[in-house]
């Protein structure tokens, strides 16, 4: 990894993601720290990134590196953790049953990823799908259920839905800007993850397809 990428690009990118993902846009803009559960999920996600070869911490922090280089590495590690926790907190609904279900969904998905140990490319693809799914759920599906209804009929339907679910599904209404902000934060996060460990760099695992092709060729040769 180049010094510019490690010392400037990645820290600034991850810190910006942490800032954007922490913003909750309502009647007022609030910056919310990550929940305890999102810190646990972030730890699991970073462990999955390490196991999948998408992130090699020994390339950021090592006794053979200079003090300043290790300090740069520590900043990247800290910023990555903060950004991951904030992204996961941002995608989690604030209250009710959706909060429980999304927390379970993210926990099981990350646990499965951690155990399956996919290669870097598959891991990043899987992570993109998970994050985009959670984004759609919170900022499209739940937001449309919780948005203030325009007509009398929609208000009546919303009230009936709220009564039928004991108010456990609907969330506080969000500003339309919140979804765009979340999309930007996720896009930046995926780009930053891709920059963490470029394919082919020392420490990254080759894609599974290549490994399978190589083992197939070996068996043919034998």
């Amino acid at each position: 990894m180049s010094a510019v990428r490690e010392a400037i690009v990645l820290p600034l990118l991850f810190l910006t993601i942490a800032l954007l993902a922490g913003a909750r846009i309502g009647a007022q803009v609030a910056l919310v720290p990550p929940s305890l559960f999102s810190l646990i999920l972030a730890t699991m996600l970073i462990a999955a990134l390490v196991r999948g070869g998408a992130f090699a911490p020994e390339r950021l922090l090592h006794a053979s590196r200079s003090t300043v280089a290790n300090a740069n590495g520590a900043v990247v590690l800290f910023a990555l953790f903060l950004a991951t926790a904030q992204i996961l907190a941002m995608l989690t609904p604030a209250t009710g049953l959706p909060l429980l279900f999304v927390d379970i969904f993210l926990f099981v998905t990350l646990l499965n990823t951690l155990v399956a140990m996919p290669d870097r490319v598959r891991l990043l693809r899987s992570l993109a799908v998970t994050l985009i799914s959670a984004l759609l759920l919170k900022f499209v599906v739940l937001a449309s259920l919780s948005a203030p209804a325009a007509s009398r009929t929609s208000r009546l339907l919303a009230a009936l839905f709220d009564a039928a679910t004991f108010g456990s599904i609907t969330q506080d209404a969000q500003s339309p800007a919140a979804g765009y902000l979340a999309f930007a934060a996720i896009a930046m996060y995926l780009v930053a993850l891709a920059l963490l460990q470029p394919p082919g760099s020392p420490g990254s695992r080759p894609p599974r397809d290549e490994l399978e092709a190589a083992s197939g060729m070996q068996s043919l040769g034998a």
Binding site: A3, V4, A7, I8, P11, L12, L15, V68, A79
Partner: protein
């Protein structure tokens, strides 16, 4: 550019940016003026708009409290000056004060403003040297606003109509 220079500059920039983000989380500014003013006050470069402050003081002394608050809010757009916040709180007090009863909404806003002034003052001690005021410390003003918001039997004392506004 040499690698150590890039690494050093990147480290300083990242730590400074992280400090700004931590500050934003801690202070939760709501407007751009609050954010820029807050950052300026961190480095000791924040100044109120003196002209707007003088206008506010003139309105305050003339009993035009809405106008006074508007000018004072303009003077201290970032809400970082303890003295200006004190006058805003005092304007709420004087406008909300009544011989028979106080306006609780205005007193509550005054209490919030004086709390802000106390939080901004060094060591929480704020004394304003102004002969026009009967309460010159933020502590006195806060206690008076707090008393106005509290319901107690002495509120029904008919002799209270003879009290005067401070």
């Amino acid at each position: 550019m040499r690698e150590p220079v890039v690494r050093g500059a990147g480290l300083v920039a990242a730590l400074a940016y992280a400090a700004v983000i931590a500050w934003l989380y801690a202070t939760q500014p709501q407007t751009v003026a609050q954010m820029t003013g807050g950052l300026a006050s961190v480095v000791g470069a924040y100044q109120i708009d003196q002209q707007a402050f003088d206008d506010g003081l003139r309105f305050f002394r003339a009993g035009q409290f809405d106008e006074a608050r508007a000018a004072l809010a303009r003077a201290d757009a970032a809400e970082r000056d303890a003295r200006t916040q004190f006058y805003i709180a005092y304007a709420f007090y004087r406008q909300g004060w009544g011989r028979l009863y106080h306006d609780d909404a205005l007193f509550a806003k005054g209490l919030a403003a004086v709390d802000k002034a106390i939080a901004l003052a060094p060591a929480g001690r704020l004394v304003v040297d102004d002969a026009d005021l009967q309460m010159r410390s933020a502590d006195e003003l806060r206690a008076e606003l707090q008393r106005g918001l509290t319901r107690e039997p002495s509120d029904f004392n008919p002799l209270k109509v003879f009290r005067t506004r401070k």
